[in-house]
Symmetry: C2
Subunit: 530 residues, 2 copies
């Protein structure tokens, strides 16, 4: 397991006191060689502390004084209360606590924080805040172990995953989840129907409401922060999927479809939805209303089945909120670029602007092995349009389960998409990082350029491939143009030649200026020895 | 050097006769296991022929009967002529020859085909056709050899590069280009100022119009198909760049800025532009009017310097076209998502819809080592908005020169962006491939899924990591969900249970249907032995 600070950064905590309780809000501090620093939002938990000592068997230290008996964040926000979690989040996001409270009260943001999961560092999912990224992990009957999954969780949060979903479907589901929960600094989501299915040996027709309910309670008790519930897959929508190119591709969706058809009864998730609300409200577990009929191909995007379900999710949103339960809505899937924004528009209209949480979408189907890229395109566009959290897709999507490298590739691709969305939405803090990195680039501060990047290790490694020597890390050229000529160097020479700025009337015939530039030696390249 | 067909495909040629000359139009035929096939646009030249025998020293076989004395494609299109190249392109793109002629005549499309480069398979760049991808190669003073660059050219076109730019700046520029030109099946672009700069030992202030002109003629004679000319960097625009975060980042742009300042004279590219037009018209070399003042950071996007130059490129476009020279316009660079479309709008307005040819743009600056992804996001969006050709960016951008792996990663990322753009624009052929792949995926035809993908080898390799045995390539499950449960399999079971389609009134209480599904064994999983 990788611990310790990210290359070029140190972990800092800002002190915050709320109602007499001292809290520590984490940031990744990038220390620049020019003496400046930049503090970045950090998701990695104590694993990146300078003196990280991790005991997986003991789990992370819980936050002190977690309040369990005053209802959900939604209920408390509506009552006008700024909770400790809201104060913490405001500091983390750089916004006012009142904005946090207001967005939660309106149901436009959620704070997934099960009372039984005090190990997390509180975070918020909503369009008024930074766009978040979820990383799916979990074993299947074919591959991987508990240790591997815990490692993936630590690894994913190191690179910026804001939440983790444990989608295990194989053996040891409960135990795998326990290890992840006790050691995760970020909220953990699950799809309880997967575990329920294991309990009936994989036969969906054998599922019952009672055993599903018991599974949900088991997971609530354990501390799961949000749960995907495919309660919008109604019996009457199933015929709409039969003529699709790829039918039903959501696991939860097809489990429920099979159950509905076998019993010829409406989904128990739908008919027992209010009872489910009561359970989730008790722990403040957030609904992630699943899109069981999401399109699995470009051909099926934005079709009747998909939007019929979305309308039902809108109904369920109202019910959940009336019961004080926080809600977010899951979205597609596979959608060509020109059909993406429509998804956000309808979700906001039908689901009262509940936070949208989308898988990609993939903008094309033709690149298996590169679906972190096909989907980062769709994810960036849907983030710009208002999606609050993006579920990552790794290069292994459609081909196998992600390993450690895939997890990192997926997280980085999605941090790019999320950050691009933040920039396009004008998020106040987003451009600071771009500007700091660009300035470092222009000033040939190579170490700073690496440190400010999403993946300092790989950036440095690439630079090392051609120019490994330490002097090259401050050299005013790189291997792309070579030492004899560098375009950025020329601009710096121009600045040196005109310390007071190039005059606006330069084109009006002052030949003296030419001499001035020449007097500075027409410096346009550096000697090879630099 | 890699030759032979792409895995799962064979090379086919469609016969076409134009004015008595027989032509062979290439396609990559994907042969599916269900007996069907799909023919795809192919850029790879004879290197992917079944019986490819390549002799680099001899070069590729020239097309027969290339016409040299009848002016440019633009002039001939205006005269109402459908040239052999236009007929060839129409077959390749699946459109009418008249559409090709009309778009060229209007200047909305270009056919880069130097009379002295008969080795190429003609292609078109314009918004009415498939979005194209350019791959930059070329050595620098620090790295690489001629053999490596020729190998990169073959490698890039194998994965789908529609044109190649040779951006060599080191030694042996002429010879490197000669090897590339004689062996390239796609048009080759250059930036002549780079070679001119080598001739004055890297000191831009020593450049003269005469030696630049001679360099252009040298390259025209050799067969370069399009040339980047930074003729829009005017003396009066230079002050606009000084306050930028990253100044001037284009090599050509900064060379000319340094020259203008040193001599305090307007750029010789601008003052001698009409003479340049006469030279290019003689060979039918296409202008790629370079954006020497493109933004090099998010902070500098869409600024005054950038758009001042674009207006000048608009003026030059009119001059070039009036001289019968084909023109495309280069675009940024680094642009956040919300500022991308404006670039296309202004380019079309000011440059008479000349084909736009953009570098990315990168949607954020914070991910060096992943700029193929940051820029694929921007590239897809700008392609949807009307860009005709995308210049790839590799993972090494800003850090070093691309090696073979980087070239492939860059090309694949850009094929994804280009294809996503085609889909969003409703290109008639684009969705066929997505649908074929999705259908193969849904029917568990794994080999077909690989063969239809942009990179069959890597897709198969990823699948092999967990399920390497041949039977897994037709198994109705994968390692993601394991054999006990597969969502797509369930939909197929539903189809099997209702061979005439699931009745629309299924929700109205026909309990018999439930029995019907049960009679089919409630099949929802496959035995582990499958």
């Amino acid at each position: 397991m990788t611990t310790g600070p990210i290359t070029g950064s140190t972990k800092v905590y800002r002190e915050l006191t709320h109602d007499g309780t001292a809290m520590q809000v984490p940031f990744r501090r990038v220390n620049l060689t020019n003496g400046e620093h930049l503090d970045l939002y950090d998701t990695s938990g104590p694993y990146t502390d300078d003196d990280a000592v991790i005991d997986l068997a003991a789990g992370l230290r819980p936050r002190p004084n977690v309040i369990r008996d005053h209802g959900t964040q939604l209920q408390r926000a509506r009552a006008g209360e700024i909770t400790a979690e809201m104060a913490y989040i405001a500091e983390r996001e750089g916004v006012s606590p009142e904005l946090v409270r207001d967005e939660v009260a309106r149901g436009r943001a959620v704070i997934p924080a099960n009372h039984n999961h005090p190990e997390i560092e509180p975070m918020i999912i909503g369009k008024a805040f930074g766009v978040k990224v979820n990383a799916n992990i979990g074993n299947s009957a074919v591959t991987s172990s508990i240790a591997e999954e815990v490692d993936k969780m630590v690894w994913a949060t190191r690179w910026g995953a804001d939440t983790i979903m444990d989608l295990s479907t194989g053996k040891d589901i409960h135990l795998t989840r326990e290890w992840i929960l006790r050691n995760s600094p970020v909220p953990v989501g699950t799809v309880p129907i997967y575990q329920a299915l294991e309990k009936v040996n994989g036969d969906p027709t054998k599922l019952t409401w009672e055993m599903y309910r018991d599974t949900v309670i088991e997971q609530c008790e354990q501390g799961v922060d949000y749960m995907t519930v495919h309660a919008g897959v109604l019996l009457r929508y199933i015929p709409l999927t039969v003529k699709r190119v790829t039918g039903i591709v959501s696991r939860g969706g097809s489990i429920m479809a099979a159950w509905c058809l076998a019993h010829h009864t409406e989904s128990f998730l739908y008919t027992h939805f209010e009872e489910l609300c009561e359970i989730l409200a008790r722990y403040d577990v957030t609904f992630s209303l699943g899109d069981g009929l999401r399109p699995g191909s470009i051909a099926d995007a934005n079709d009747e089945a998909q939007f019929a379900e979305l309308r039902t999710l809108g109904e369920l949103t109202k019910i959940a909120k009336s019961r004080g339960v926080q809600v977010m809505i899951e979205g597609p899937g596979h959608v060509p670029m020109h059909k993406i924004v429509e998804n956000v528009r309808l979700e906001e209209e039908w689901c009262e602007e509940a936070p949208f949480y989308t898988l990609g979408p993939l903008a094309t189907d033709i690149a298996p092995a590169y679906d972190h890229i096909t989907s980062a395109i769709g994810a960036a566009i849907i983030a710009q349009a208002g999606t609050a959290m993006l579920c990552y897709v790794t290069p292994k999507e459609h081909l196998g389960l992600p390993d450690r490298k895939d997890v990192k590739d997926g997280v980085i691709a999605y941090k790019i998409a999320a950050h691009s969305g933040d920039l396009a939405k004008g998020h106040p803090r987003a451009q600071q990082r771009d500007d700091a990195l660009s300035k470092a680039r222009f000033e040939f501060r190579w170490h700073d350029q690496f440190a400010l990047s999403l993946d300092p290790d790989t950036a440095r490694e690439f630079h090392d491939e051609t120019l490994p020597a330490e002097p090259a890390k401050s050299a005013h050229f790189c291997s792309m143009c070579g030492p004899k000529f560098c375009s950025m160097r020329i601009t710096q020479d121009i600045r040196d030649a005109y310390p007071d700025g190039v005059p606006d009337d330069i084109a009006e015939g002052m030949a003296a200026k030419s001499q001035e530039f020449a007097d500075h030696g027409n410096r346009v390249y550096l000697p090879l020895t630099t």
